[in-house]
């Protein structure tokens, strides 16, 4: 039986289209992007903030600076050039991010839980997330669905989402959110809504596990197709490339 995490990975991977240039964040986005490249999007252009352009990793990379990303890449360039020449200037189609918290406007927190000066949990910080969230043509976010992670107000805005009351005019910003409960999008006012549910989950659960109201964007709400045997097999193959004891 696949885990809720695997369902998220597969649902996120399905959102990527062949030939898109996707700037891949750490964690689930990394797994999902590598899965997509082995499924429907073989020519997906994997870009990493470490300066890797068009990676073809032989195994699932452990981090954005993993040597396997470098080996068969089209290019490895200074981070300065990746950020200024490619990300900030609109050459990235999809920013693919995780986060600790998200709010109704898609603002992301990956900095602290609690107060910045006296945090309860000090997280890793932005890295390139703030730039990816605002520089990519659109952003896909993947995260577990829980009340802590979907608060009315994130503890810290690391990566800005849509501005209050509207969706970004240029199409940038949060486009889809994949969680353990469903698939989410954003309406014209830039607020999150449900687009589909994970199999076996309900809209009531979504409401129950979110600190803000998340309306349905379509009626009736569709249910996402279960991961196929092929999807799960390739995901398992991908995980098998990791060193023992590593979480993928």
């Amino acid at each position: 039986m696949p885990s809720a995490r695997d369902w998220m990975i597969v649902a996120a991977a399905r959102l990527l289209e062949n030939q898109q240039r996707v700037l891949v964040g750490v964690g689930i986005p990394n797994i999902a992007a590598n899965l997509a490249k082995r499924l429907q999007a073989p020519d997906l252009v994997l870009v990493y903030e470490s300066g890797v352009i068009d990676a073809r990793p032989a195994r699932l990379p452990l981090s954005i600076g993993d040597g396997t990303l470098v080996d068969a890449a089209l290019a490895v360039i200074p981070m300065s050039e990746l950020f200024s020449h490619y990300l900030a200037t609109g050459w990235i189609d999809v920013g693919f991010l995780g986060a600790a918290q998200i709010d109704a406007s898609g603002n992301l927190n990956s900095t602290v839980i609690g107060d910045y000066q006296h945090p309860r949990v000090r997280l890793a910080g932005s890295g390139g997330a703030a730039e990816i969230a605002t520089g990519a043509k659109k952003t896909i976010i993947v995260m577990e669905h829980s009340r802590d992670r979907f608060p009315a107000k994130v503890d810290f805005i690391t990566s800005p989402g849509h501005p209050p009351g509207r969706r970004r005019a240029d199409g940038r910003g949060p486009w889809r959110v994949v969680t353990s409960l469903g698939l989410f999008g954003f309406d014209d006012s830039g607020r999150m809504g449900v687009m589909a549910l994970m199999p076996g989950h309900t809209q009531e659960e979504v409401l129950d596990l979110s600190g803000f109201r998340i309306p349905a964007l379509v009626d009736p709400l569709p249910v996402l197709p279960e991961p196929s045997a092929q999807e799960l097999q390739i995901l398992q193959d991908l995980r098998a490339t990791l060193p023992g004891g590593t979480q993928g």
């Binding site: 981090s63 954005i64 600076g65 900095t111 910045y116 945090p119 000090r122 890793a124």
Partner: protein
């Protein structure tokens, strides 16, 4: 004139308490050997800088070297968080100058160019709101452009795959922010997997990262980036990255590891001997870009 010196001398003569230090490297080429020597020399009140502090900085923070950290992403790559950093940040023991990656790199670009600020495309976030990130009006278009202040560390410490006796530094694989960090710094010192005679590496022109006249001293330190990796030479020792997360959960655990592997060994050579030849051999890259590059 040879720029080679012993690692202990290189650190002693280049780095003093209260300095601002950038231990460069990005995912690979993290100067662990140099950082461990700094721990052995018991340096204090440093401001440590790096876009991506990882295991080495966690160890240096655990050892009490740092009062302040300038950074943009403090994680254990592929593993999770950094226990010593977390503890220090959550308990207020470490002052933080926190940026995004693009901001941090632009600070280095300004430093390397000798300018006081650098422009970048950036929206406000809570970091910029808390810390401040002024904008200047473009005199040509009127557009408001975000700017960050220059970062000019006192010393940059690099680990490179190859150097020559005159301090010319050669790097393969991810450049990350290594060059910008080095050139933004007043003094550059380096460890290298191998130091070759002067003039013997000129055929590797396209891999020169820093010319020798910018470098104060260089030391040959094989496996000087272990447990991080060196493209073409050896792989990351992922086991150690994973174990750190567990053993560093408590200060006792962290100090025990430092006593065992850093303060309790006299040198990096002794550290390598303790790991054992077979252990290190297993990390060596079987083939790859570096050998290809060397044969060219």
């Amino acid at each position: 004139m040879s720029k080679q010196q012993e690692l202990a001398d290189l650190i002693r003569e280049s780095i003093q308490d209260h300095m601002t230090v950038y231990m460069a490297g990005f995912s690979h080429l993290i100067p662990f050997a140099a950082g461990h020597e700094m721990i052995r020399q018991n340096l204090r009140h440093l401001t440590l800088c790096r876009a991506t502090p990882d295991l080495l900085y966690d160890q240096m923070i655990a050892a009490g070297l740092a009062d302040r950290l300038a950074f943009s992403y403090a994680g254990n790559p592929g593993v999770g968080l950094l226990p010593a950093f977390r503890h220090a940040a959550e308990s207020g023991l470490l002052a933080l100058d926190e940026y995004t990656h693009a901001e941090m790199i632009c600070r280095l670009e300004a430093g390397a160019a000798g300018l006081p600020f650098w422009p970048l495309a950036a929206e406000d976030n809570d970091l910029s709101r808390l810390r401040g990130r002024p904008r200047v009006a473009c005199p040509f278009t009127g557009q408001d452009v975000a700017v960050v202040p220059a970062l000019n560390p006192d010393v940059a410490v690099l680990h490179v795959q190859m150097a020559d006796d005159e301090g010319n530094l050669y790097v393969w694989g991810l450049p990350g922010d290594i060059k910008e960090a080095a050139l933004a710094s007043r003094v550059i010192v380096a460890t290298a997997e191998k130091v070759h005679p002067a003039d013997s590496l000129r055929h590797l022109r396209d891999y020169l990262m820093i010319p020798g006249f910018r470098v104060k001293g260089v030391t040959e330190v094989p496996f000087g980036a272990h447990p991080s990796y060196a493209t073409g030479l050896y792989e990351r020792d992922t086991r150690l990255y994973q174990e750190w997360t567990q053993l560093a959960k408590t200060d006792e655990g962290r100090q025990a590891w430092l006593d065992d592997w850093v303060r309790g060994v006299p040198s990096h050579a002794a550290y390598l001997a303790k790991l054992g030849e077979n252990y290190l051999d297993a990390l060596k890259t079987r083939e790859g870009g570096f050998n290809r590059a060397l044969s060219s």
